[in-house]
């Protein structure tokens, strides 16, 4: 028992200086951590501090954790600081803000065309807003499709979409006709898949059995109604109210 007390006294004497030194280190470390915490609200400043202070952070922690971990900490501090740097740049970049704005605008269907594949004549068309010249648009779209298919196609492939700014035209091809869906905003894969299913449904149930030998206003009027019921049922409901 006595020897144990003596040993404790001896330990106190020998380590007194070390304890004092460690206490000071700990205080400095806590002060640094406090300063870093304050900087967290300002990512740019935080990144600067972290970059500039990584050696000090490692030096402060080093005596406590040993050489092997020291190297690990240096690497990790560098990685974290780079990561934060990238994120802070992304958060405040123009592209990021633009992307967020675009994502926030829900993608939706503006207009649906069913176009005779060979002649480019409009079989049916319906949309949220009246297009000035659906006939000219359908013919020009057909010409562009022919051009792309001839210039770049291998015979089996076909043009699937056209994009301009916030708008896209999705094209779904069938035997005698093709669908051209004019969309605005971001269209997810799920939405595209749903649109395709709707096209399939319309083609199988109503349009596919029709004859397009002569495309007249009676035919287009019937097809327009089918398009409206399939793709714009909400609007149909609103109109009935």
């Amino acid at each position: 028992m006595e020897s144990k007390n003596q040993f404790e006294e001896l330990r106190q004497i020998i380590l007194a200086d070390d304890r004092e030194e460690n206490k000071e280190r700990n205080e400095r470390l806590l002060a640094k951590i406090d300063a870093l915490e304050k900087q967290l609200n300002d990512p740019d400043e935080f990144v600067k501090v972290l970059h500039n202070s990584k050696d000090q952070v490692v030096d402060m922690l080093g005596p406590h954790v040993g050489k092997l971990i020291r190297k690990f900490i240096r690497t990790e501090v560098e990685r974290i600081s780079e990561d934060i740097n990238k994120k802070s740049k992304a958060i405040f970049s123009f592209d990021f803000l633009k992307r967020k704005k675009k994502e926030s605008a829900n993608g939706h269907l503006e207009q649906v065309f069913i176009i005779h594949k060979d002649s480019g004549l409009v079989i049916g068309e319906y949309g949220n807003e009246d297009t000035l010249e659906p006939d000219l648009i359908a013919s020009m779209l057909t010409a562009i499709k022919s051009f792309v298919q001839t210039a770049f196609g291998d015979g089996d492939s076909d043009l699937e979409s056209l994009e301009y700014g916030d708008y896209a035209i999705l094209l779904f091809n069938f035997e005698q006709f093709y669908f051209a869906l004019i969309t605005q905003g971001i269209i997810t894969k799920e939405m595209k898949s749903l649109y395709f299913d709707q096209c399939l449904e319309l083609a199988d149930d109503s349009i596919g059995s029709m004859s397009f030998k002569e495309i007249d206003d009676e035919l287009t009027s019937t097809v327009n109604e089918h398009i409206q019921q399939t793709f714009f049922p909400v609007k149909n409901h609103e109109r009935n109210q």
Binding site: G120, L121, E133, M140, I144, F147, D216, D217
Partner: protein
């Protein structure tokens, strides 16, 4: 009145006046010039015959379009051809006759109307070389241009090849 849509293709060498015919006598046009990359312009014209209105979508194919496959692709689904030559240049007539022979093979039942444009430049109103055509027109004065579209529409209506 019943309205029927039809695709018309306008063919002819460069500078025979196809675009001039279109510019002044159609109801709406996609662009005033050929879309240079794809070599085509499209316009719309309505023609009334009897109890029917025909909505003609006119595909004006560039005279110097060299790509044969593309040329074929543009002709698919055509309901009538308007073949235009320059009534003052024999070579443009020969080109249109050759074209008509080829079209007769691929589109035997599709109406084809041959018109000689620039009749305002003819002396005594007569073509100076042997030529067989349906109409002479002048895009400049407008003479017979409406007739050309009407005749073509009548042929579609009558089902004449």
């Amino acid at each position: 009145m019943r309205e029927i849509s039809k695709k018309i293709v306008l063919l002819g060498n460069e500078s025979v006046g196809k675009t001039s015919l279109i510019k002044q006598y159609v109801h709406s046009i996609f662009s005033e010039e050929y879309l240079s990359t794809i070599g085509i312009n499209i316009s719309k014209k309505s023609v009334v015959t009897g109890e029917k209105t025909y909505k003609l979508l006119i595909w004006d194919v560039a005279g110097d379009l060299m790509n044969e496959k593309l040329y074929d692709a543009y002709l698919r689904g055509t309901h009538a051809f308007l073949l235009v030559f320059d009534a003052t240049r024999e070579e443009t007539y020969q080109a249109i006759i050759n074209e008509k022979e080829v079209l007769n093979d691929y589109f035997p039942d599709v109406p084809k109307l041959i018109i000689g444009n620039k009749m305002d430049l003819l002396e005594n109103g007569e073509v100076a070389f042997d030529a067989s055509y349906d109409l002479l027109t002048s895009a400049k004065t407008g003479q017979h241009v409406e007739n050309a579209f009407f005749d073509l529409t009548k042929r579609i209506d009558d089902g004449q090849g």
